[in-house]
C-alpha cells in the first residue's frame, strides 16, 4: 500500500498525501499527531453486538453504535474508588476531631493520612489518564460550573491542599500548629464530602444512556460506596477500641445505604430494559453482582465484628462497584438501541422540554404502502 503514503521527508505514511517540498501543512487537522499509520491511531468503530446485514428494519444503522465509547481506562474507575475513600475518610476524621474525645485522636491521625495519600494518588491517576498529561494544569485555567469535571478538579485541588496540611500536622496538638492542623482537617472533611459523590454527577452529565438514566441515584450510590470504602480501609488498620466502634458504625450504615441505593438505581435506570441490560449481563453484570455480594458479606462480617474480613470484602466490593458502573455505561453506549429506546420512551429531551416536534411529525407517520406510478403518467 505504498502508493497512498506521502513522499514527504518526515511524514512518511501519515496518510495525508502531502509532499512537504510542495505543500504547506497548515490545515485545521494538520497538527493531528500520527504515530500509528494506516488509521490505527483513530479509534475504530467497535464491532456491534447486534450487527445488522441491512438497514431494512430502519431501527438502527446496521446496528452500529450511535454514541462514542468513553475513552477512560482503568485509572478512572480506580480514581472513583480512591477519591471516594479519601473524601469519606476525611469526613469521618472531621467528625472525630470536632465531636470526638481524645480517645478518637488515633482515628483522626489515621484518616488524615488516608485522605492525603488518597488525594495524591487521585491526582496521579487522573493525570495519567489524560491524552496529554503534561497539560493537566489546563483544567484550572477556567471555572466552569456546567462541567462537573472542572468543578471536581477545583474540589480535588482544595481537598489535596487541606488534607496534606492536616496530615503533616497530625501529631501537633498544641501551640500554633495544632489548631492550624485541626482547621485544615475540618476543611478537608467539608471538601471531602462532595468529593466522594461528584463523580456520580460527572457520569450522569453524559449522553451515556445508563449513566444518564441513573442520574438521581448515582451520586448517593457513590457516596455510600465511599463510606464503605473508608470504613473498610480503616477496618484494615490497627485502631484502639473506641475508634474501632466508630468505624464499625460508619461502615454498617454506609453498607446498608449502598445496598439500598443500588436497588433504587436498578429501579431508576431499569425503566428502559435495554439501558439497564449491561448491569445484568456480561463482564459488567458479573462485576455488579460481585460488588453487591461483597458488600452484603462485608456488612454481615461487620455486624459479627470480623473487622479484617469486613475490611477486605468492603474494599473489593467498592472497587468492583466502580468498575461495574463504568464498564456497564460503556456497554450501553455500544448499543444504539439503548439510546433510541430511552429517547422514544420520552426519557430524552422530552423529560425537560416536552416532546420534540420532529419526534412527533417525522416519525409518527408510518410509511404507507405506495402505489408505483409509471414515469410520465
Amino acid at each position: 500500500m505504498k502508493w497512498h503514503l506521502s513522499p514527504g521527508r518526515n511524514r512518511d505514511g501519515d496518510g495525508r498525501n502531502i509532499d512537504e517540498s510542495l505543500g504547506v501543512l497548515a490545515g485545521e487537522g494538520a497538527h493531528q499527531d500520527v504515530r500509528e499509520t494506516a488509521g490505527k491511531g483513530a479509534r475504530p468503530v467497535p464491532e456491534p453486538k447486534e450487527r445488522a446485514e441491512s438497514t431494512a428494519d430502519r431501527d438502527s444503522y446496521y446496528g452500529l453504535p450511535m454514541l462514542k465509547e468513553p475513552v477512560w481506562k482503568w485509572p478512572i474507575p480506580t480514581y472513583f474508588y480512591v477519591g471516594g475513600l479519601a473524601g469519606a475518610s476525611a469526613a469521618l476524621g472531621m467528625a472525630a476531631g470536632r465531636f470526638g474525645g481524645p480517645e478518637l485522636r488515633p482515628l483522626c491521625e489515621r484518616t488524615r493520612i488516608i485522605a492525603a495519600g488518597g488525594a495524591v494518588a487521585s491526582s496521579a491517576l487522573l493525570i495519567w489518564d489524560l491524552g496529554r498529561p503534561s497539560r493537566f494544569l489546563n483544567m484550572m485555567r477556567v471555572f466552569r460550573p456546567t462541567s462537573p469535571m472542572n468543578v471536581g478538579t477545583w474540589l480535588l485541588g482544595a481537598f489535596g491542599g487541606f488534607s496534606t496540611i492536616a496530615a503533616l500536622l497530625r501529631q501537633k496538638r498544641t501551640g500554633l500548629l495544632g489548631p492550624i492542623g485541626d482547621a485544615a482537617a475540618f476543611a478537608a472533611g467539608v471538601a471531602g464530602i462532595p468529593l466522594a459523590g461528584y463523580t456520580g454527577v460527572l457520569l450522569s452529565n453524559t449522553s451515556v444512556p445508563l449513566w444518564q438514566g441513573a442520574r438521581t441515584t448515582l451520586p448517593p450510590l457513590f457516596m455510600a460506596s465511599a463510606v464503605t470504602s473508608a470504613a473498610s480501609a480503616l477496618d484494615l488498620c490497627t485502631l484502639p477500641p473506641a475508634a474501632q466502634r466508630a468505624v464499625r458504625r460508619y461502615g454498617i450504615a454506609g453498607k446498608i445505604a449502598e445496598i439500598a441505593i443500588a436497588r433504587m438505581l436498578e429501579r431508576e435506570a431499569g425503566v428502559v430494559p435495554r439501558v439497564i441490560a449491561p448491569l445484568h449481563e456480561g463482564v459488567s453484570g458479573s462485576l455488579w453482582k460481585a460488588a453487591k455480594i461483597c458488600v452484603v458479606a462485608s456488612l454481615a462480617a461487620g455486624v459479627l465484628r470480623q473487622r479484617r474480613l469486613a475490611g477486605w470484602l468492603g474494599t473489593v466490593g467498592s472497587l468492583a462497584l466502580r468498575f461495574a458502573m463504568v464498564k456497564a455505561g460503556t456497554a450501553s453506549t455500544l448499543d444504539p438501541r439503548a439510546s433510541f429506546e430511552q429517547q422514544r420512551a420520552r426519557l430524552g429531551a422530552a423529560e425537560v422540554t416536552g416532546p420534540a416536534p420532529e419526534l412527533e411529525q417525522g416519525t409518527a407517520v408510518p410509511a404507507p404502502e405506495r402505489v408505483l406510478v409509471p414515469a410520465g403518467a
Partner: protein, 257 residues
C-alpha cells in the same frame, strides 16, 4: 458576524463522498485506514477524530414518495453527516479546560493548543461526533472550516457538493429555504420529508440541520437528543442531599448516637 451553519438536504445526496474527500484534503486529516465494511457503500461508518464528514447509506425495502425505482419497492437514502454545532453543545458545556469555544460564526471549535485530552466531551456529545485520537491524545471534530470562514470562503464540503445537498449559509436564511424545500417535496408527493434539528428543543437547535425522509434512527441519529447539562440538575440536588446525610452519619458514628 451572523450565525452560520449547514442545511443538508438528504433528498439531493447522491452518495459521491466528495464532501468526505474535500474535508480530509482541505483540513489535511490523516487517513483512517482503508477498510471494506460491506455495509452498502459506507466504509467510514461513523464520524470520528479524523473523519469530519461521513456519508451514510441506508437501503430500505420500500419506495420513497412518488419515486419510481427499477428495483421495485426499494429506496436508497444517503446522508452526509457532520458535527451539528448545537446551539447548546454538550461537548462545550462539559469541557473542563475551556478548549471548546463558540466562535463568532456560532460554531463550536476545539482549540488544539488547549485541549488536554480528558475525553469528557466524547461522552457528553449526544450525537457521538467528537472523538479523541489515541496517538495524538486530543479531541477533534469538524471546525465548520473556521480557517475558510475567516477568509470569506464556503466550507470545503459545501463547496464541493455537486448537487447542493450540503448548503452553507446564514442560519436564518437556511431555515427559510429548508422549510420551502419541505413544502415543495410534500407537494410533489414525498410526504415523509421533514426537518431534523432546525428546532431541536433538547439542544435549542442545531446549526447543522438536515432534511430527512425516514426516522432519525435509520440514519444513526438520536430521535430526541438532549444536552446532558439540561438534565443534570437532579444529580446535583441528590448530591447535596446525600452530602448532608453523609455529614450526619459521620457525626453519629463518632458520637455513637
Amino acid at each position: 458576524m451572523s450565525k452560520k451553519g449547514f442545511f443538508t438536504d438528504t433528498t439531493l445526496c447522491i452518495g459521491c463522498k466528495a464532501c468526505e474527500v474535500a474535508c480530509k484534503q482541505w483540513n489535511q486529516l490523516p487517513d483512517d485506514g482503508f477498510k471494506f465494511t460491506g455495509l452498502s457503500y459506507d466504509n467510514s461508518e461513523h464520524l470520528g477524530s479524523s473523519t469530519w464528514r461521513h456519508v451514510a447509506f441506508v437501503e430500505r425495502p420500500m419506495a420513497l414518495g412518488m419515486q419510481v425505482s427499477g428495483a421495485g419497492n426499494f429506496s436508497w437514502l444517503m446522508m452526509s453527516d457532520v458535527c451539528k454545532h448545537c446551539a447548546r453543545a454538550g461537548c462545550l458545556e462539559s469541557c473542563p479546560t475551556g478548549a471548546l469555544v463558540r466562535t463568532e460564526y456560532d460554531s463550536v471549535y476545539v482549540q488544539p493548543d488547549v485541549c488536554n485530552g480528558c475525553g469528557y466531551c466524547v461522552s457528553a456529545c449526544p450525537f457521538g461526533v467528537i472523538d479523541r485520537r489515541e496517538d495524538d491524545g486530543r479531541a477533534w471534530k469538524c471546525t465548520l472550516c473556521y480557517d475558510r470562514l475567516k477568509a470569506d470562503m464556503t466550507p470545503a464540503c459545501a463547496k464541493h457538493c455537486p448537487t447542493a445537498s450540503i448548503q452553507f449559509g446564514d442560519l436564518v436564511e437556511l431555515r427559510v429555504r429548508a422549510q420551502q424545500r419541505v413544502e415543495e417535496l410534500h407537494r410533489r408527493g414525498t410526504t415523509e420529508a421533514y426537518l431534523y434539528g432546525a428546532d431541536q428543543p433538547g439542544t435549542e437547535g442545531l446549526n447543522a440541520f438536515f432534511l430527512l425522509v425516514d426516522k432519525p434512527e435509520a440514519y444513526n441519529l438520536p430521535p430526541d437528543p438532549v444536552v446532558p447539562t439540561r438534565k443534570v440538575r437532579r444529580s446535583w440536588v441528590s448530591l447535596a442531599g446525600a452530602a448532608v446525610a453523609m455529614a450526619a452519619l459521620a457525626v453519629a458514628a463518632v458520637t455513637g448516637v
